[in-house]
């Protein structure tokens, strides 16, 4: 298990629902991670850039308003371009079960729908960041 794991929590697109993202940020901080929270309205380009600049181990997205498929598809190619595919990529929020398989194909490592226990997220990060 790596120490000082750095986690990016980003709010993709135009969605303004940030209660969940902020709650998860607090849970991750309490679990001892270093957290970088972007605030609202991040483009895929911004997420990739911040991930690179901040040298994070985990790229986390919080999506509530249904635009996660388009966003993740665009972000996936940017992660590849910027050689960020070795980072742990996770998403949480309002993610329908039917989208899970496709998100995994795109490159998402972990999917945590609303109501997920914080330990599930923190354990996943601890077990998968090397």
């Amino acid at each position: 298990m790596k120490s000082n794991i750095r986690v990016l929590v980003a709010k993709p697109g135009l969605d303004g629902h940030d209660q969940g993202a902020k709650v998860v940020v607090r849970a991750l901080m309490d679990a001892g991670f270093e957290v970088i929270y972007t605030g609202l309205r991040q483009s895929p380009e911004a997420v990739a850039r911040i991930a690179l600049e901040e040298d994070v181990d985990v790229i986390g997205l919080s999506s509530m308003a249904g635009s996660h498929m388009q966003f993740c598809t665009r972000l996936a190619s940017l992660l590849e371009e910027n050689k960020l595919t070795d980072k742990l990529w996770i998403i949480g929020g309002n993610i329908p079960k039917r989208d899970v398989a496709e998100l995994k194909t795109i490159g998402l490592n972990g999917i945590f729908p609303t109501g997920t226990h914080f330990e599930e997220i923190t354990n996943f990060i601890n077990e998968n960041v090397t």
Binding site: L14, V23, R26, L40, G66, Q70, N94
Partner: protein, 537 residues
């Protein structure tokens, strides 16, 4: 007050931090402040309701939040709901519109018409409200960051259709301060954003005095994590900030305060919620009368839409949300809301289907028509529990308002991210209690079902074709319109924004020339700049 912990009963604290006893007596009412603030409905301090007859005269307006794809599809849904007995409209706009982007903006890709109707120009308003009698059906626009532009579009559209603007009723949400706390459709920095709200208040006071330019929202602050007392207290702090701004323009309090409205959330404990609304009515009346010297009783009214209540709904066993919604509507009726909107059972995971919308409407109709909720005003008054709790909730709200004032006021607190931080800390605390089972949620952390027993949820599809149509239609308008007139109007918007003049007259001219939401917003941004979100935990 006496406590009963020694009897072996577990102490109970409600969400607003008030201890709830197993039994209430007249002594509790006396100890909490008596019945001085109760009064009669329709009379100061309006705790029991702003009208003497309330629902006996007219049931609450039913105003479901609706809008998707484009103006044409939204117009069809409006007509469907009106045909089903809905008595007001509450328009949902897509995210690009809400933050002042045109449909062809690169940031709009994948978002056009997704969570509401897409609007680029006045033409979209003409289509959306086509065939709807704007005197019969009042329209509420759920728009904040881009509110100045969309209010102008609404007034321009009504004027074109021959309505007398000086008599036109309607509402815009237009509460930007709460967007910085929750909901997030801000555009400009805090100060010019508040200035824009005051521009709309001033403009409407002078040109459309029956129009409600602001509906101050506790709703979304509660959605973001605030407790019920904080919800109402923060809303009052915000309403006071707009009131102060309007007074600085030289308006008299009674010229505009009667057109301020509110938007509150309903979910949680039934009695705490009812007490919240009763307490809020008394407190707002007192603030208006004593702090601001309002003379007209109308200025003291806590007029409101009460919405039940997105954060109370869950994606697990979503049909349970139908029952939750019914209780929320019951609370709204017991609390004397003038207008209600119910979140639909499927709104925990998608924008609502026509079927879900109709069920919400029927829920309110069955309360109004078959259940006796309209018979008697403020039916819970005189309950020792309700009266005690109403006093206690009001005192708690006063305490929160005093704290905000002592720390420099709501505008400063929002600019620094202090309110946002307090609210998200509360959300975290609540979520931990839900995850641990300390707060029970049926079907979520108790009485769960195996996943395979649950029905497959239906999601509202993203309409690519409607999005493309919207882009094409706006491009066609751009070819047709008088470009020189548009340019002139846009320069005026920018000049007025820079000089600090009221921008509403210039925006009115721009929308009438079919300038787009994005074009007008860009001019404002050139003068005001962009908001930078304070990140603070």
């Amino acid at each position: 007050m006496t406590t009963e912990h020694d009897s072996g009963v577990k102490p109970l604290i409600n969400e607003s931090g008030i201890e709830v006893k197993t039994l209430y007596t007249p002594e509790d009412v006396d100890e909490s402040g008596g019945i001085e603030m109760v009064g009669n409905p329709g009379e100061y301090p309006f705790t029991r309701g702003i009208h003497p007859e309330m629902y006996r005269k007219r049931p609450w307006t039913m105003r479901q939040y609706t809008g998707f794809a484009n103006a044409k599809k939204t117009n069809e849904r409006f007509k469907y709901l009106i045909a089903n007995g809905q008595t007001g409209l509450n328009v949902a706009f897509d995210l690009p519109t809400q933050i002042g982007l045109d449909t062809d903006d690169p940031m709009s890709v994948g978002e056009i018409g997704r969570v509401g109707m897409a609007v680029d120009t006045l033409r979209d308003f003409e289509i959306a409200f086509d065939g709807i009698d704007l005197e019969e059906i009042t329209v509420s626009l759920t728009i904040n960051g881009a509110a100045a532009v969309l209010i102008a579009m609404y007034l321009a559209m009504a004027e074109k259709r021959g309505y007398d603007i000086s008599k036109l009723r309607g509402t815009a949400q237009n509460d930007i301060l709460k967007e910085f706390i929750g909901r997030g459709t801000w555009i400009f920095p805090v100060e010019p954003s508040v200035k824009l709200v005051c521009d709309t208040i001033e403009y409407c006071a002078n040109h459309a005095p029956k129009y409600t330019p602001v509906s101050v929202c506790g709703y979304h602050i509660r959605e973001s994590g605030a407790d019920p007392a904080e919800e109402m207290a923060y809303a009052f702090c915000i309403a006071k900030a707009y009131t102060d701004g309007a007074l600085e323009r030289g308006l008299d309090i009674d010229e505009f305060a009667g057109r301020l409205s509110f938007n509150f959330n309903i979910y949680g404990n039934i009695f705490e919620q009812v007490a919240k609304f009763r307490a809020g009515r008394g407190l707002w009346a007192r603030i208006m009368k004593e702090e601001y010297g309002a003379k007209n009783p109308r200025s003291m009214w806590l007029r409101m839409i009460a919405g039940g209540g997105g954060n109370g709904l869950y994606a697990d066993q979503p049909e349970v949300n139908i029952m939750r919604g019914a209780y929320y509507a019951l609370i709204g009726a017991l609390a004397g809301a003038q207008t209600m909107a119910l979140c639909c059972y499927d709104e925990a995971y998608t924008i609502p289907s026509e079927f879900a919308q109709r069920l919400s409407l029927r829920t309110m109709q069955l309360l109004a028509e078959e259940s006796g909720l309209c018979d008697t005003v403020d039916p819970l008054a005189g309950s020792w529990y309700i009266e005690t709790l109403t006093n206690q909730m009001r005192q708690r709200m006063e305490q929160i308002i005093a704290e905000v004032d002592a720390q420099g006021g709501i505008v400063k607190q929002v600019s620094e991210g202090a309110v946002q931080s307090r609210v998200s800390a509360r959300a975290y605390d609540t979520q931990r209690k839900i995850l641990s089972g300390e707060i029970r949620k049926v079907g979520v952390n108790c009485f769960q079902m195996e996943e395979e027993e649950e029905r497959e949820p239906q999601y509202h599809p993203y309409d690519e074709a409607a999005a493309q149509k919207q882009i094409d239609a706006t491009n066609a308008i751009k070819v047709d319109r008088d470009q020189a007139e548009v340019e002139r109007a846009l320069i005026q918007v920018k000049d007025d924004a820079k000089s600090g003049a009221n921008v509403m007259p210039a925006i009115m001219e721009a929308v009438k020339a079919y300038a787009t939401v994005g074009e007008i917003t860009n001019k404002l941004t050139e003068a005001y700049g962009h908001y930078q979100e304070p990140i603070r935990f």
